[in-house]
Every structure is written in C-alpha cells, then in structure tokens.
C-alpha cells in the first residue's frame, strides 16, 4: 500500500483519490491470496500503476485459478442490517468506484485492468 501512496506523491495527484486505488488493490490482492492461488504456490502477482491522460490505471495479474471479478455475486446494498453480508461487497465496490473495469484470461493468467480519471493537483 506504501506503493500506492508513493506513486500518488510522485505523480502529484490530489490525495483524496488515493484511497479508491488502495481499496481496489487490497481487494483484488486479498482475493487472489484467499481463493486464487494454491497454498504452496510460488506464483507471482504483478501490479502496475500508470498515469496516462489524467487517468490512473491499475493492472493486477496472477497465474491462479481463473476468476472473473465481474462475474462475482452482486450484493444488495439496500438490505436491512440483519440481512446484510460483506461477501462480494468489496469487489462490487471496486467496480462501482472505477470509470472502467475489465477482466481477461490471457496466457494462463488473470488480468484485471481498471482506471479512473484523476486530474493532477496543479497547485503542487
């Protein structure tokens, strides 16, 4: 997560947007750790953060089980307290937060690519 805040500072981006990307990265990453990789796996997870044309893009790629976050269950955020669960909530929220979100299975890897328009803070 230090990686996101370092990127944010170096790119002179307004602080408020960083949390969305930290949230997204933590969500996708913990999901891979919990479900995607075999317990003894030595597989790597690639994370790339880019700033292009005022759009911050996050790419996360892993060689675990095929998993499309877009096909994950969609929670009903209108339910009452007693009926609410957190399952699927994080992945749903990530997709809501981003301007674009896509998934590909490519050469035996899951590739999740997402982005959001965030203008650099010109006062910095």
């Amino acid at each position: 997560m230090q990686f996101v805040s370092d990127f944010w500072r170096e790119s002179k981006l307004p602080e408020s947007g960083a949390m969305i990307f930290e949230f997204a990265l933590e969500e996708i990453f913990t999901n891979i750790m919990k479900y995607g990789l075999a317990p003894d796996s030595k597989s790597d997870v690639l994370v790339r953060l880019d700033l292009r044309l005022e759009c911050v893009e996050l790419m996360v790629s892993d060689a675990g089980q095929p998993f499309d976050p877009k096909a994950a269950i969609t929670p009903d955020v209108h339910l009452d307290l007693d009926e609410r669960t957190v399952g699927g909530l994080g992945l749903f929220m990530v997709q809501e937060m981003m301007d674009h979100f896509s998934y590909m299975r490519e050469s035996g890897r899951n590739v999740v690519l997402m982005g959001k328009k965030i203008s650099p803070d010109i006062s910095k």
Partner: protein, 116 residues
Amino acid sequence: MECTINKVMGVVVVEPVGRLDFDSAKQFEDQLVAEIISAAVAGAGVAIDCSALGYVSSAGLRAFLVAARTAKSKATKLAVCGLSAGVQDVFEMSGFGRIITILSDRDAVLAEMGAS
C-alpha cells in the same frame, strides 16, 4: 492499528487511529464488540469517532457491520462520527450509511445520545 477508548459524558468513545485494512480489521472488530457488550451492561451508548481513521477496506467495513449487529442485539445505541471524505465515500458506496447512524462529529453524538 491503535485504538483509544474513553468514556465521555457517559458515552463510550472508541477512536481507531490509522488504517483499517485486512491486517487490522479483525482485532478492531473484536475490541469493538467487547466494548459494546460492556457498554450495554453499563447502559451506555457507544460512539466510533473516525477522525483519525485514514483508510477503511471492505474487511474494515465488516467490523462496522458486526458492531451494528451487536449493538442492535444488546439494544445499545451506536453511532459513527468524524468520517473523512474518503471514508465517507466508502460508507456510502457500501450502503452502510443506511444501516449505521452517521453523525458529523463527537459533539453531535453526545447531543444525540442525550449524555449528561
């Protein structure tokens, strides 16, 4: 993650400091539930002051959901206050804004809970 607990005007104020992420959420959840249960015994309300909370993940949201359920089952008043803009966004997007009382700041909570 650090978490300070104070009793202010009869209300138990829990103040998480730092980041509520996958690593720290479970500990916070346990601590929060314990505070709500003992507040219930004492007949006190509980406020979660998030002024010093910089980040919350979905694991952190779970802690708030469990806290709200515990408070409901114990008939204890629970409110959240002092959310930063980023944390507020996460609360709203999760729909938790509708199931947990959110107030502007600690003073608003103390007024709401009728503390004296």
